[in-house]
Amino acid sequence: MEITVTLITGRTAEQGVGKEIGKPSERYQRNVNYILLNPRDAERIGVEEGEAVEVSTLHGSTRVWCKLSEDVEVGVAFIPLGPWANRLFDPETHGTGIPSVKGVEAEIRRAEGEPPTLEELLRELKG
């Protein structure tokens, strides 16, 4: 079972606090490695708070932890800016310099296995 959502990215205060401690810090990683889903959407794909989900767009996919909140409506999901979210976005800027990172269609399903760690993301980047 998978659902299609409109993905919104953004900053959060906790991401800011973690970032200023340092990118390698546990607090930074904890605050960017998640997606916020409406509880009813989570129920449809059979995941609970703290379980891993697979998020895919036309441009890539990533695994992150699931958090639940009524702050996002059904059909919308929020993911903080960071190295996990970045794997989902099209680098095409349509002549503006800025990629589309808000309002992107994504599919979400229950994940097999845990999200990658920051080290694993770095290793993959290095190729």
Binding site: T6, T12, A13, K23, E73, H94, I98, G127
Partner: protein
């Protein structure tokens, strides 16, 4: 125990200048008046530091690292210099000098945040004022596609919704506050009116507001998920306000429409100025991203995305912007200053950065510094080095030096000067 007063916070575009910082044994031990992020930055600035210059992950002297950086940049065909929004203006000026010298491209992080705002302002102009004027006069404040409770934590209390000013001595109760967003953020609790717009529907909603302000009637029930009555009431409220301000964020610049959304917002504000006083102010993120645009404009005539490959500056967002230059595989070397593009650019662009020789100047370890060929630690501007930064409303403010940097660690501007000397040698 020295206590520094009126310290300027080097985190976001608010540049709050009322912090009190207590220092003991060259370590910050207490911060007063700072927001959660500011306090985190100041209290933890010594953690996760880049301890020494590195070449290919191995310790090197500063001289060796500068020599290697100059060799990489001097021999590259299409070098990119990028970042610059979290350092002071002197370093930005030096980075542009270096870009000209090596015939490279210089871009700053505005290209992935308020770049579209700049494109729109270049086309239509702007109606703006200082944050102090908003505090003293605004009786209607609209936050559109931004969430100061998450990104500009003291904006509401120092400059806008809750601030008490000359003609707004009642603070929050003297103002009507509106928040427009695609999801119900905590701003809903702050605002008198929360308007939920469908993702990608901002342009239409702004255009509908313009139509009503101009006296046209709406013959449809809703626009972008917002009922007609709400649009008409908001438009009337805007016209009747004494002084209105729209603060807007990446909800407008990073979604469908991009610079067209900002053009619609500028048009709305221009129309409203036929009825009352109205201004539009972008919520700039990094503390000196406005300075990066300002200094780049002084020196090249353009605010970002500047190419020196022909020996004179050319400007073309979409071509000389970092995401495009990297994802096309065009850049063959990069110098990153005070930024972490590996963590924040789309994967394809970050991947290119990992493939090419990259040099990074940063006080702290970041994803970019962990992967880069050459890493040079620098003194943190606003903590270990002085300098000037530009607030989101274009006001320059002098940053203070509170601590001595670690031995042998120089500010960005001095490291860039050494690289320039080495390239010229």
């Amino acid at each position: 125990m020295p206590v520094y007063r009126s310290v300027v916070c080097p985190f976001c575009g608010c540049l709050c200048d009322d912090l009190e910082v207590t220092v003991e044994d060259n370590r910050i031990i207490k911060v007063r008046n700072g927001c959660a992020i500011s306090t985190s930055k100041l209290l933890h600035h010594h953690e996760n530091r880049v301890e020494r210059p590195l070449i290919d992950g191995k310790p090197a002297t500063l001289e060796e690292a500068v020599e290697e950086a100059a060799e990489i940049l001097g021999s590259a065909r299409r070098p990119l210099i990028y970042g610059l929004s979290s350092t002071e203006c002197g370093a930005i000026a030096k980075a542009i000098e270096l870009a000209e010298l090596i015939g490279g491209v210089v871009d700053n992080t505005a290209s992935v945040c308020h770049g579209p705002t700049i494109l729109a302002l270049q086309t239509l102009g702007e109606s703006k004022c200082t944050l102090g004027t908003v505090r003293n006069r605004a009786d209607l404040i609209i936050y559109w596609g931004c969430n100061p409770l998450e990104a500009h934590l003291r904006h509401l209390t120092r400059y806008s919704a809750m601030a008490r000013g000359l003609y707004t001595s009642g603070g929050r109760k003297d103002r009507y506050v509106v928040a427009v967003d695609v999801r119900e953020t905590r701003m809903k609790r702050v605002a008198d009116l929360f308007v939920k717009v469908k993702p990608g529907g901002d342009y239409e909603l702004l255009s509908a507001l313009r139509a009503v302000v101009r006296g046209y009637s709406l013959d449809i029930d809703e626009v972008s998920g917002v009922p007609r009555d709400v649009i008409i009431e908001l438009a009337e409220r805007m016209k009747k306000s004494r002084f209105g301000a729209i603060f807007f964020g990446l909800g407008l610049t990073q979604s469908e429409g991009r610079h067209m959304n900002i053009e619609a917002a500028i048009g709305l504000v221009a129309d409203l100025n036929h009825h009352t006083k109205f201004v539009l102010i972008p919520m700039r993120g990094h503390y000196n991203v406005a300075g990066a645009n300002t200094v780049t404009t002084w020196q090249t005539g353009y605010p970002y995305a500047v190419d020196f490959s022909r020996g004179y500056p050319r400007y073309n967002p979409g071509e000389y912007t970092a995401v495009d230059l990297l994802s096309r595989g065009e850049a063959d070397a990069a110098l990153i200053i005070a930024s972490d593009p590996m963590a924040h650019l789309p994967y394809k662009a970050a991947r290119r950065l990992a493939e090419i020789p990259t040099i990074v100047l940063d006080p702290k370890r970041s994803m970019t510094s962990i992967i880069s060929r050459v890493v040079i630690p620098t003194a943190a501007a606003g903590i270990e080095a002085e300098g000037t930064a530009y607030r989101m409303d274009g006001i320059p403010i002098r940053l203070k030096k509170l601590l001595e940097p670690p031995e042998g660690v120089l500010p960005d501007v001095e490291v860039l000067s050494l690289i320039i000397e080495e390239v010229m040698r």
